[in-house]
């Protein structure tokens, strides 16, 4: 009987620990998901909105790019991203970019879109990871 009660207690404790562990699991998962940063950018003559993005080092940025007017381009100088953003109402472009070092990256429209095309730029600022003591 004592053994049975002990087993029940152990089972209950295990269940409790499992529950606690289970409760922590999503947190860990959320931690992993935090590595992905979703950024939606709207392109319109002659600006990106937002044009300034800050992400922590190690994050994978998933850009969703939408145009409000004509065909635009999205190129990250110093990165390997150079894609077209379809015209208004013609869909979107999703592209990922994973900076591996802190610093500042410039992105720009890479498809001539009008007289003010040269103004169409923005920045991705990659901040160093916080060191946990």
């Amino acid at each position: 009987m004592v053994v049975l009660m002990t087993l029940l207690r152990l089972t209950a404790l295990a269940a409790l620990l499992f529950q606690l562990g289970g409760a922590q699991a999503p947190a860990a998962s959320a931690g992993l998901q935090a590595e992905k940063v979703a950024v939606r950018i709207i392109a319109e003559r002659f600006e990106f909105r937002p044009a300034s993005i800050t992400v922590p080092l190690g994050a994978r940025i998933e850009f969703t790019l939408v145009s409000e007017d004509t065909l635009h381009g999205f190129r990250i100088i110093g990165g390997d991203v150079d894609v077209e953003i379809p015209k208004r109402g013609r869909g979107k472009t999703v592209v990922s970019f994973t900076p591996t070092a802190a610093g500042e990256f410039t992105f720009e429209c890479s498809r001539v879109c009008g007289a003010g095309h040269g103004f169409m730029r923005g920045t991705v600022k990659v901040t160093p990871k916080k060191v946990t003591p």
Binding site: S67, D80, T100, A101, T106, V112, G114, A115, H117
Partner: protein
């Protein structure tokens, strides 16, 4: 005197900065690359080469049909514009824009114009500091820098952007531009206006030197600040200031323009508004001098002003088309304040209503229709009404 010194100093500073920038971009780029790149392997192997360049452009075909029968309907290929670009490196690029107006260019006639509207080199150093030199658009108002046909409603540009802000307003010069947070700015030194060619009816329109052997005894300053921090909204303010005694050397005349504008898009609704005010210092001297030398008094005002407000609603039609209905009200007075001894003519205080539709066959192809009613306070011809049809496209 002090102002002149400041101008000279500013000119030298910008010239020096431009000079340095032409040598610095390689270093600046190298510095930015000094931090390890995003993904070294990707950068080393798959970074796309700089675009070699491209050809783009836009065109506008207009049919103007006056309601009053004493004027003929006119069909006009108003603008045929080609844009050329070349990217020497990610931070050094050329942009050129060549425009033919009214399809035909003949010497010494009013048939049309062939113009180099843009031909500049951009040196892109930092997001907050870039340099530009060459033939450039004046950064003033909504339309002057953003005038591709699908970007505005109405077959013709607003009257304000014709006589108060003489779009397309361009000239030679150099300066800086950039972005700080949600703010964007440009500041240029440019060739000045020629006050001898101001007029009562068309304001500043005829006074551009257009980079053609431009006299730069005076240097004009121009700048614009835009706030882009509110989603769907752009709020801007611009100015132009400079001497304008190009042909009239004996007088020191100067011209200043201040302007404010806003554009807001919320769902299907679009609203834009703009106000511009011109101050001409020495307008009386201009009138006196031209009356003596040509026999015609141009009756130039010392202040001109105009404003408009426009509302539109844009809805999809089927899967790929869209239609926008719009209405615009504007008031333009090119004789808002006259110099002492001159009186304003009532015909130059004009109120314009424009209502119509823009049908987008494609986001880059706009079929336009509008009815324009221009009223003034003269007794001779107080009303002009036109039906306008337009086809404009960008590629």
């Amino acid at each position: 005197m002090i102002t002149q010194k400041i101008k000279r100093l500013a000119f030298k500073t910008v010239a020096l900065a431009l000079g340095l920038a032409l040598f610095l971009p390689g270093r600046a780029y190298a510095q930015s690359q000094a931090t390890p790149p995003a993904n070294p392997t990707q950068v080393a192997t798959t970074q796309p080469p700089p675009a070699a360049g491209g050809l783009s452009g836009y065109m506008e075909l207009h049919l103007t049909r006056p309601i009053e029968r004493d004027r003929d309907p006119v069909l006009d290929l108003h603008r045929f514009v080609l844009l050329f670009t070349h990217q020497f490196s990610p931070r050094l690029r050329f942009v050129g824009e060549l425009e033919v107006e009214h399809a035909l260019v003949e010497g010494l006639t009013d048939a049309g114009e062939l113009e180099v509207e843009q031909a500049y080199i951009d040196v892109l150093v930092r997001p907050w500091l870039n340099f530009r030199a060459g033939m450039m658009l004046v950064p003033i108002g909504i339309i002057n820098e953003r005038h591709e046909p699908p970007t505005f409603h109405g077959v013709e540009r607003p009257l304000l952007d014709t006589v108060i802000i003489p779009s397309t307003w361009f000239d030679v010069g150099g300066g800086i531009h950039g972005r700080v947070g949600a703010w964007r700015y440009r500041y240029f030194l440019m060739a000045p206006l020629d006050s001898e060619r101001f007029s009562a009816e068309e304001g500043l329109r005829g006074s551009l030197q257009k980079g053609s052997r431009a006299v730069v005894r005076d240097v004009a300053q121009t700048g614009r600040v835009e706030y882009l921090g509110v989603p769907g909204a752009t709020i801007g303010a611009s100015f132009w200031k400079g001497g304008s005694s190009v042909a009239l050397r004996r007088f020191h005349t100067s011209t200043a323009v201040i302007e404010a504008d806003g554009r807001v898009t919320r769902g299907p609704f679009e609203v834009r508004a703009q106000y511009a005010h011109v101050f001409i210092d020495g307008a009386g001297d201009i009138n006196d001098s031209l009356a003596r030398t040509t026999g015609v008094d141009p009756n130039v005002a010392r202040q001109l002003r105009g404003f408009y407000i426009e509302g539109a609603v844009r809805r999809p039609v089927g899967a790929e088309h869209e239609v926008a209905l719009f209405a615009r009200f504007e008031n333009v007075d090119t004789q808002f304040r006259m110099p002492a001894g001159w009186s304003p003519l009532p015909e130059f205080d004009r109120t314009v209503w424009t209502v119509g539709a823009t049908y987008y066959l494609d986001p880059d192809v706009a079929l336009k229709f509008d009815f324009t009613r221009t009223a003034n306070r003269s007794l001779f011809r107080p009303l002009d009404r036109t039906l306008n049809f337009g086809l404009g496209w960008w590629f």
